[in-house]
């Protein structure tokens, strides 16, 4: 939902970043207001996953320039956990398995950390169980998954549901979902997308990072950005995603080549 007067939640300006000595982001600018759903599309290696990790504060990525304001405050100076407590959520492309740590305990500790960030009191184990059982319904997840170790032995679809369950518990202001559709069959995709739609509201915002149109068939974006070579090449409405689906990414290469005045790489 686009409302020009809605408050700006996330403002990215000329962001550059590298991993080891490899520059990946080469000047990304993006403004996200409350109530909006944005989609960032692009080929593998275009920098879209890096953008999500830099926003969440992954230590392997070094920001070399630019600014990111979150609710008007500098985001990049915050430790990852403080970003999360302030309401930034990253849904992982590959959720991490943590043997020996119970999913239920993990969810409770995370939920209470976020509640502390919102100035709310901690939930005890009983109150939390009630909450988590209610939120399980958002992703139609079997309560048995609460008793298992975090993501251990979960199928791809179960891991992604667990990510959306975390999102439902953490109640983020800005959710960045990195390739949440990858590895999902059509039923799981509908459940996960249904969860995202359910959680999207006028006061929060969603940034979908995706490779394919099919996620955008079930979650309608307000803006679509096409990323290539570490920059946002073009921004449009949802029709831009359809155009990409129809024409493929080759024209992106051509456009990139034109802007850089260097030959496009094919393949």
């Amino acid at each position: 939902m686009i409302r020009p007067d809605a408050p700006v939640l996330l403002e990215i300006r000329d962001l550059t970043a590298r991993v080891e000595d490899q520059p990946i982001l080469k000047g990304v600018s993006l403004t996200i207001r409350a109530g909006e759903i944005h989609a960032v599309m692009g080929r593998n290696g275009s920098g879209k996953s890096t953008l999500s990790k830099v926003l969440a504060g992954h230590p392997a990525y070094t920001v070399t320039g630019g600014t990111v304001l979150y609710k008007g405050e500098d985001l990049l100076s915050l430790e990852p956990e403080l970003r999360a407590r302030a309401g930034l959520f990253l849904g992982f492309q590959y959720p991490v398995e943590i043997p020996g740590v119970s999913n239920l305990e993990f969810l409770r500790v995370a939920t209470n950390a976020r509640r502390a960030g919102k100035g709310q009191e901690e939930l005890d184990t009983f109150a939390f169980e009630d909450l988590v059982r209610e939120r399980l319904q958002v992703v139609q997840m079997d309560p048995a998954f609460l008793e298992r170790s975090v993501n251990e032995g979960f199928s791809g679809g179960e891991k992604k549901r667990n990510e959306i369950l975390q999102m439902a518990l953490l109640d983020p202001l800005v959710a960045v979902l990195d390739e949440t559709d990858s590895g999902l069959d059509i039923d799981a995709l509908r459940i996960v997308a249904g969860g995202v739609n359910h959680l999207a509201g006028p006061d929060n915002a969603t940034l979908l990072i995706t490779h394919y149109q099919r996620l955008l068939d079930v979650i309608t974006p307000d803006y679509v950005h096409v990323m290539a070579a570490g920059r946002i090449l073009r921004t449009g409405g949802k029709e831009l995603a359809l155009e990409l689906e129809e024409r493929g990414y080759d024209w992106v290469d051509a456009e990139l080549a034109a802007t850089e005045r260097t030959p496009a790489e094919v393949g």
Binding site: A56, R85, I98, G117
Partner: protein, 426 residues
């Protein structure tokens, strides 16, 4: 370096390891002379051998990383610890307190299927499993044999529904607490046992457990030993298995100045199942050591072994996992995995599989990993609002729980993880 550490405790005691041992043996004999006891003959034999056996030095391979000399700084006397505070006993378990002097069975109604072994039968049985597993001449076993005043010896018939808890707490006193245990499982018998050994002072807990498993018998065995910065633990678990028997040992020790566990398993005719799961922790300047030995003396035996270790501070973890598969042990299926977590630059981990395989038709897998906390796991937790130090604690607990959750249910009131990590009042 070695010479310096060799001289220090001896100097403190005013004499060398030899005179420390002589003083200890004199004290152990002194107690015995008070009255005839079942262990007197075997104690005299062990004392005689021990007196002629030098303290193993670090030039001996089995003690290369673990220096025994600090033991000789302990008081060469036998401890009589006072009864210590204990958590409530879990439902369905019987707790026996071991203090090295009293009869642990006095006033106890043993559950159906358990009966004491005594007299000639005890004399004929005691030490047999130690001999069969090649443990009789180990220095910690000799020390135990030369000093132990009491033995808890039980025969097991049928399925014992009650978990047996064997508990000691050396407390804050100085000296040595020798504990001797014998379990004989008749064919088809089944028992669950939990050993808990604690300390809070400058003392040594010396434990020797012998277990003989008849055909088709099953022993589920837990050993939990949260120690004290000044305390030492030398524990030997010798198990002889007949065909079709199952032994499952789950152990966790840590927090001791010197803690060493030696599980020594023999499948007498093969065709048995053995499982060893272990966790050991070393922080501060502690040493946590496990030397395990598995011998398959016949075909079709199985071993599943997981050994996990955490080293922090200047702690030192040692694991040596010997597996012997002689020619007779065809179709043995053995898997050993050593997983180690190194949490500090000054900590040290030595891990060594030691497989001797002569039989040609076997599957013997082994592996060892040493790693730090995974950055991706830490980041995942941080990205959910969990602070870095709390995330590290969660991951450490997860690493430990994989073993601890396999301890018998009776271990629950002992709060294994908190006690091992020193998160309790003690």
């Amino acid at each position: 370096m070695v010479a310096a550490s060799l001289s220090t405790p001896a100097a403190a005691a005013g004499a060398g390891p030899g005179s420390w041992l002589a003083a200890l043996l004199a004290n152990a004999t002194g107690v015995a002379s008070a009255g005839a006891d079942a262990l007197a003959p075997s104690r005299a034999r062990a004392a005689q051998i021990l007196a002629q056996t030098p303290l193993p030095s670090r030039r001996v391979e089995a003690w290369r990383f673990t220096d025994l000399v600090p033991l000789t700084a302990l008081s060469p006397t036998l401890l009589s610890p006072a009864p210590a505070e204990q958590p409530q006993t879990a439902a369905g378990s019987l707790r026996l307190s071991l203090d090295g002097h009293s009869d642990a069975l006095a006033g106890i109604n043993l559950p159906v299927g358990l009966e004491p072994i005594s007299g000639d039968e005890l004399n004929a049985t005691l030490g047999k499993v130690l001999a069969a597993t090649g443990s009789a001449e180990l220095w910690p076993v000799l020390l135990n044999g030369a000093t132990a005043q009491q033995v808890l010896a039980l025969r097991v018939r049928g399925t014992v529904a009650t978990t047996l808890e064997l508990v000691s707490d050396a407390g804050a006193g100085e000296g040595i607490l020798p504990l001797r245990l014998l379990l004989v499982l008749e064919p088809g018998a089944s028992l669950e046992v939990l050993q808990v050994h604690r300390s809070s002072g400058a003392n040594l807990t010396s434990v020797v457990l012998e277990a003989r498993l008849g055909e088709g018998a099953e022993l589920r065995h837990g050993l939990l030993a949260p120690g004290a910065e000044t305390g030492c633990l030398l524990a030997t678990v010798a198990v002889e298995q007949a065909t079709g028997s199952r032994y499952s040992g789950v152990s966790a020790h840590g927090g001791w100045a010197l803690g060493r566990l030696e599980p020594r398993l023999l499948q007498r005719e093969g065709a048995a199942h053995s499982a060893l799961k272990a966790l050991q922790l070393a922080d501060g300047r502690q040493i946590s050591d496990t030397h395990s030995q598995m011998v398959f003396a016949g075909p079709d035996g199985r071993l599943e072994q997981l050994h996990k270790a955490v080293a922090d501070g200047q702690g030192r973890s040692v694991f040596n996992g010997a597996v012997q598969v002689p020619r007779a042990a065809q179709r043995t299926d053995a898997a050993q995995l050593s997983r180690n977590l190194l949490l500090s630059d000054r900590a040290r981990i030595d891990t060594k599989p030691e497989l001797e395989i002569v039989a040609d038709d076997v599957r013997c897998a082994h592996g060892a990993t040493v790693s730090r906390l995974e950055q991706d796991e830490l980041f995942y937790l941080q990205s959910r609002g969990i602070a870095a130090d709390q995330a590290a604690r969660l991951l450490l607990r997860g690493f430990c729980e994989e073993v601890l959750q396999e301890l018998p249910e009776a271990a629950r009131p002992w709060q294994a993880l908190a006690s091992l990590l020193g998160e309790q009042g003690r």
